[in-house]
Amino acid sequence: MTIDEAPAGAPARAARSRREPRPGFWLTNEFGLLALILLFGLLFATLANGFLSPFNLFALGRTAAVNIVIGLSMMAVIVTGGLNLAVGAIGVSAAMACGYGVETLGLPWPLGLLGGLGLGAALGFVNGWTVVRTGLHSFIITLATMSIFFGAMIFLTRAESFRQLPPAFAAFGRAKLGGTVSPLLLVTIAVMLALVYLYRFTALGREMLAAGARPEAAELSGIRVGRVFVLCHVLSGLLAGVAALMLVARNGAAIPSMAGQLGQDWLLPAFLGPVLGGTLLNGGKVSVIGTALGALLVTMLTSGLLLLQLGEFWIQSFLGLLLLLAVLIDKARRSYLARRNLA
C-alpha cells in the first residue's frame, strides 16, 4: 500500500496552509451563555436581596447540578436526532431500585448505587434496542416506555418511598464545601469531564456524532449506526440514573414522585439545557459545556426572579420573558460580531 507515501512537499504545505484558526470563540454559544450568566448574575446581585448569600449560592448550585445532569442525559440521545421522553421515568426507576437494594435487600450502599445505575443503563438499552429494531421514531418508543417503566415502578413499589438509607446519603446532599459549594456540583463536573472526553477524544464519541448527523453517510463509512444509537440510549439511561441518585441524596430518600407523574417534570430541564447550549435537535452536534451553562442560566433566572418577589402568580411569565430576552441578546451579539468580522 503506497497510500502513506505522500509527495514529499505535501506535509510541509499542510502545515502552512492550515493554521486552524479557532472559529471565533466570541461567536460560540458557550461564550454567549457565559456572558448572559454574568450579565444576569450582576443584575440580580444588585437588585435582589440575598442573591449572593452563601445559602442561596449553595442552593442554586445544588439545583443546577441536578438539572445539568438531566440535560446531559437528554443530550446523549438528541445526538442521534431523536429524543428520550423517558428520562424521568428511567431516573425514578433507577432511584427506586437503589432504594430497594439498600433498604429492602440490605445491600451495602455502593452496590445499591451500582444497581440503580445499572437499571438506568438497562432501561436505556431497552429504549435504544427497540428504536433501532423497529425503525420507529424514538419519540413514540420512549413515549410508550415512559408509561411502561413508570407504571412498572409504581406497581412494584405501590408508590412507597424508601427512606431508610444510610445517613451519609442525606449528609452528602446537604453538605457544604467551603460554605457554598454542594458536593453534588462536583459529581456533575466529573460527569461533564467524562462526557467531554467521550465526545472529543474517543472514536466512539465521534461515531455517535457522525451517526447522528447523517446515519446514511456514517453507515457507508463503516460505522455500525444501530449499535452506536443503542449506546447513546444506554448512556442516556445511565445519566438519568446519575441525576436521580443525586436527587436521592438531595431528598434523603428515594421517592416515586421525585420526577412527577410519569417522570414528566424532568422534561423541561432535560430540553432546556441542551437546546440553549447549542445542541442541534436534528442530531450530530453536542455541547457539554453549553448544556451545563444553559441549565445554569435557567436555574439562575428562576432563583433571581423568586428573590425579586414579583407578583407570585406572574413569575412564570417573567421567566418566559427573561428567557426570550436572553436569546434575543445572544442573537444580537452574534449578528453584531458577524457583521464586524466581515467588514
Binding site: 442561596n56 408508590a159 412507597e160 431528598n251 434523603g252 412527577g260 432563583s303 402568580f313 421567566l319
Partner: protein, 316 residues
C-alpha cells in the same frame, strides 16, 4: 413577634389553597407579624417547591407553613429549613415521621375518605356497589385513600367495584369518568371521590346523565360540587378547613419563633403518616348545610385557636 415573617407555601397552584392567602393577611394583622405571605410554586413539582422554599429562606422568611409536595421527599428540605432556624408546620398534608416539622395541621386524608365512604353507605344501605375516583398515584395519600375507602366499604358491607386513579387533570378525568359511567352506570350504586378534580368532574357527569339513582359523596368546596349538592345530583361533600390551617398555622409559627416549644405531652392524634397530627376539622356537608358550612368552619377555627396555645405549646 414583629420580626416574624411567615411563608405559607402550598405544593402548587390549586384553588383549595386560595383561603391561605386571606388567612395569611388576617394573621399578619391579628397577631402583629412583620409579614405573612402566601407564595405558590409555579407548578406541582417537588423541585419547584424546594426551590421556592430555599429562595424564601434566603429572603429572610423565618417561619413556614408548608403543604409537603411529597410526604417523604420534603422531609429533607424541612430539616434544612429548621436547621437554619426557621420553624416549620405542615398544613393540609403531613410529612411522614420522623421529620423536623413541629406538627401537622390538617385533614387526615385517610380518615376523611373513610368518613366520606361511611356517609355514602349510610345513604345507600348495605350490600351496594361503589366506585372510587381519586388522584395521582405518585401521591402516597392516594394509596391511603384507596385503603380507607376499601376499609369503610368492607365494614359497611359494600364492595368497591372500581378504582380510577391518576385523574387530577380535568381532561383525562372527564374522559375516564364519563367512559366509566357510560359503560357501567347500571352496575354501580354509589360514587365516592377523594380528590378535587374527580369530584368536580363526577358531579358534572352525574348531572349530565341526569341519574339521581347513583349517590355520590365528593370532597372539598368547589362551586360545581356545592351546586350539585343543592340540585340533588350529589349527596354531600367532605369539607376541609384550609382557612383555619393557614390562620392557626401562622399563629403557631409566630409562637414557636418567640421561644415556645411544642408540648411533649400534647394530645396529638396520629394518622398513617405522623403521630403529631392536629385535626383542623373535617365536616360532612349535605344539602341542608351547603349555605352555612362557612360559619361552621369559622366556629371550628375559633374554638381550635382559643385553646391552641394552652393545649399544644409551652411558652416561656
Amino acid at each position: 413577634a414583629d420580626d416574624s415573617r411567615i411563608g405559607l407555601v402550598p405544593g402548587g397552584p390549586h384553588p383549595y389553597f386560595a383561603a391561605w392567602d386571606q388567612a395569611a393577611k388576617d394573621a399578619a394583622k391579628d397577631f402583629g407579624l412583620s409579614g405573612a405571605d402566601y407564595k405558590v410554586p409555579q407548578k406541582w413539582e417537588l423541585s419547584q417547591q424546594n426551590q421556592l422554599l430555599e429562595s424564601m429562606l434566603s429572603q429572610g422568611y423565618n417561619g413556614f407553613l408548608i403543604f409537603p409536595g411529597d410526604s417523604v421527599g420534603t422531609v429533607s428540605t424541612v430539616s434544612e429549613i429548621v436547621g437554619n432556624g426557621a420553624p416549620v408546620v405542615t398544613g393540609a398534608g403531613c410529612l411522614k415521621d420522623p421529620s423536623e416539622a413541629a406538627f401537622c395541621l390538617g385533614t387526615d386524608t385517610g380518615n376523611s375518605a373513610y368518613l366520606g365512604t361511611q356517609e355514602l353507605l349510610k345513604i345507600l344501605g348495605p350490600g351496594k356497589r361503589i366506585a372510587h375516583f381519586t388522584g395521582f398515584l405518585v401521591d402516597p395519600n392516594t394509596q391511603l385513600r384507596i385503603d380507607a375507602v376499601a376499609k369503610a366499604a368492607k365494614e359497611g358491607g359494600a364492595t368497591v367495584v372500581q378504582v380510577i386513579a391518576d385523574i387530577d387533570a380535568p381532561e383525562p378525568a372527564e374522559e375516564k369518568i364519563n367512559a366509566y359511567l357510560a359503560a357501567h352506570a347500571g352496575e354501580v350504586d354509589g360514587i365516592v371521590t377523594t380528590a378535587w378534580v374527580p369530584a368536580v368532574v363526577a358531579a358534572n357527569a352525574l348531572r349530565k346523565i341526569g341519574d339521581k339513582r347513583i349517590k355520590m359523596v365528593g370532597i372539598d368546596h368547589d362551586e360545581v360540587v356545592l351546586k350539585a349538592i343543592k340540585d340533588g345530583f350529589v349527596s354531600g361533600t367532605m369539607l376541609q378547613n384550609p382557612y383555619g390551617q393557614g390562620y392557626i398555622g401562622a399563629f403557631a409559627l409566630d409562637k414557636l419563633r418567640k421561644g415556645c416549644t411544642v408540648k411533649a405531652d400534647a394530645p396529638f392524634k396520629s394518622n398513617a403518616l405522623t403521630a403529631k397530627f392536629i385535626d383542623s376539622g373535617t365536616i360532612y356537608v349535605a344539602a341542608d348545610k351547603v349555605d352555612s358550612y362557612v360559619d361552621a368552619m369559622r366556629e371550628k377555627t375559633k374554638t381550635l385557636l382559643a385553646s391552641f396555645g394552652d393545649t399544644y405549646l409551652a411558652c416561656p
